[in-house]
Subunit: 227 residues, 2 copies
DNA sequence: GCAACTAGGATTGTGAACAATTTGTGTTAC
DNA sequence: GTAACACAAATTGTTCACAATCCTAGTTGC
């Protein structure tokens, strides 16, 4: 696309979101305005806008006169997120399974393959990243812009939760769960797809353990991957 | 609450949202920065922040170098909104019906009474406003902050859609629909409550008619109710 | 040694001036 | 009379300096 300029704000937002999804940026990390403006070599105003956007995503918490921090999810909040995901993703399953013209499942299968490789090679951040991607691709096939946008936020918050409180074994079964979901969708079996999705989300939530929390890191030195 | 200062930004946001819900601000209306800063006698910076927040709510559209406008909902967008509402509100019904300690239904009944009065007196904006309020009270009882926040946005967009494309008869049955929903919830009958909710949402959506659209007004003279 | 207080530095918040873009108006050419 | 152009006014976008607030370190008093 000619003339498609990516604004600094978009770059900052995407970069921070990626870093959170990859668990390079952990909960509680302070996102100082000056630090970010230096990292991305841009004005402080643009950093400010980016942080405002992230606050809207509920991924960054803004405390007046203190600054912006990566949110620390609460147990209650985590429960709410997963319940909302279920409500939304079951509807997406229905949409996909009952869509007029059969959607293209190839990207989903490709993603599942990549997931399998990431898990096999023990690349946990990449596995989480691809798992999220799977749900977003599925959401796009659902053809509902509202549900799609909400799920973008919810998967982001899920990644943050898993990064903080997730066990080490949750990714193992994800790839298989995903495969079963797609199979049911391809067979246009709404009930089965929803059932698989419910099971899958239960698996994810079961991996969350609030008793043993990872400690938040403090500084953002080389954490942000400049895109 | 001592020390509870309402910032100008919050005042502007609430005021505009109210005016939209009350259909005083119609789709396509330009929200000029200077006009707003004069109306609310504050800085342009604060107006800017308020408009950014509203853009996040998907209620205001921001066009670069042109300004902010109240969005004009599309037919597709309306469909998406109502489907998302169904997914979310059915879950809320389930939460309320199956909540541990029986919630307080009094505010809901009070609201229904007020609705009935508004409809009887032919006060359409007030009826829409109270109808929205009903769903928000219900959402609060659902005890899921995510669903609550999403429904706040969706009911707002619904009000805008009804204001633009709504017929004149949709409010008539709303009060009765609401009463039936609460009755089912009070009986802790999840299935019945969800069924009533589904019917209710269908009623609302059926009232939307895209063939005969109301014309958007242009100026925001005395449209904004200073709070 | 510990608590409270104080000054310094750093960070966030605000407002106003300046730049860039668009819109509306009036003029001119055909 | 219409279309194209040019200029002026208004509106949005950006930058920067200054004000307000918070955190840290150091000091004093007990």
């Amino acid at each position: 696309m000619p003339g498609m300029t990516t604004t600094p704000e978009q770059i900052i937002v995407d970069s921070i979101l990626d870093s959170i999804a990859d668990q390079k940026l952990r909960a509680g990390t302070k996102l100082g305005e000056q630090s970010l403006s230096e990292i991305f070599s841009c004005n402080r105003t643009q950093v400010r806008r980016a942080l405002a956007t992230l606050t809207g995503y509920q991924v960054v918490e803004h405390i007046p006169n203190r600054g912006a921090f990566v949110v620390t999810p609460s147990e209650r909040g985590a429960r709410d997120v997963f319940q909302a995901r279920q409500a939304i993703e079951l509807t997406i399953c229905e949409n996909v399974a009952q869509s007029e013209n059969l959607p293209d499942f190839a990207p989903l299968y490709e993603n599942i393959e990549a997931e399998g490789r990431a898990i096999a090679s023990g690349n946990r951040p990449e596995a989480i990243r691809l798992s999220r991607k799977f749900h977003l691709i599925l959401a796009a096939l659902g053809e509902n812009s509202v549900l799609e946008r909400y799920l973008e936020e919810l998967t982001m918050r899920s990644s943050l939760i898993l990064g903080l409180y997730g066990g080490d074994t949750e990714s193992q079964c994800a790839s298989e769960d995903h495969r079963r979901i797609v199979a049911a969708l391809e067979a246009r079996d709404t009930q089965a797809a929803q059932s698989e999705m419910r099971t899958h989300l239960r698996h994810i939530e079961a991996a969350v353990d609030f008793s043993g929390a990872r400690k938040p890191t403090g500084a953002l030195s080389g954490l942000l991957t400049r895109r």
